[in-house]
Amino acid sequence: MSKVNLQRLGETVFQSSDRVSAELLALTYGSTVKQLLVDYEEPDEVNKQLDQMGYNIGIRLIEDVIANSKIYTISSFVDSAEIVAKVAFKMYLGVVANTVDWNSDKTEFSLQFDDNPLTEFTELPDRYSDLWYANILCGIIRGAYEMVQMKVECKYTKCVLRGDDTNEIRIVLREMLLERPPLDDE
């Protein structure tokens, strides 16, 4: 499907699905992160926890993405990137991302989005300058990809909260997971 079609599809699914207020989401997420910082103390550790939480969400969420968008075939990594950016982001965050900075092998790209509803009220204090506040998104993307047989690495590279002009997540395809029979399958 072309970019425009995907964008339209994202819009349609977004319109037809139930929504919660952005404030509720932002405040709930904010207090979660805050509590993690209290519990784990180190921003680096919190980044890891957020990623793990996201992963647990992602491996479940992918079913919902596919069922609601009715995209049953994902032919390539390049296609999948557009689906994440135009459909999945729109469905769950209400914003559309752009895929930029592809490498020549088409195995790496960056997801750029200006608005992030999760960060709506947040200002990062200096003592947490190492925190990737919305790191949960990386985990979600990683988990979702894994369920469609693609092992990816996700990393936040730019965050508006840190003074960057946009949000950016770098996604690197490590390998396509092939379905293999178990080794000792008689």
Binding site: L27, S31, V33, F121, T122, E123, P125
Partner: protein, 132 residues
Amino acid sequence: MTVLMIISPKNRPVFEAVIPANSLSERQLILSQLAIFAALDMVDEAMWSSKDLYLKVVDRFNDQSVSAFVTPGNHRFMLLHDARQDDGLKAFFNKLYEFFIKIALNPFYDDEEPIRSKAFSDRVRHLAQEYL
């Protein structure tokens, strides 16, 4: 010369801005703080006799006035300003209240903690230029 302070429900000053910046000597600043703290008692009285959050002028200090605005959460915005200034004060406080809500909603802002946000103080200064 104008001094703005935000006082928390537990009577701690959480924000202070001198407008224009650095226009006061240390001695003058302490005097202004004193005038504002003294006016807090007036606020406690005045807030019960008004339905509005904006309490207008609650106290006078030499040729200056202290105006106050009380949020429902009992944060008090205190403004020490020249006596004749009056227009724009209400609008100023209302706008300030909007900015303050943003701060209060920040998950990393704890109650009673000083407001350190650079963005907030920039916005307040900008606002002061516009309305005062």
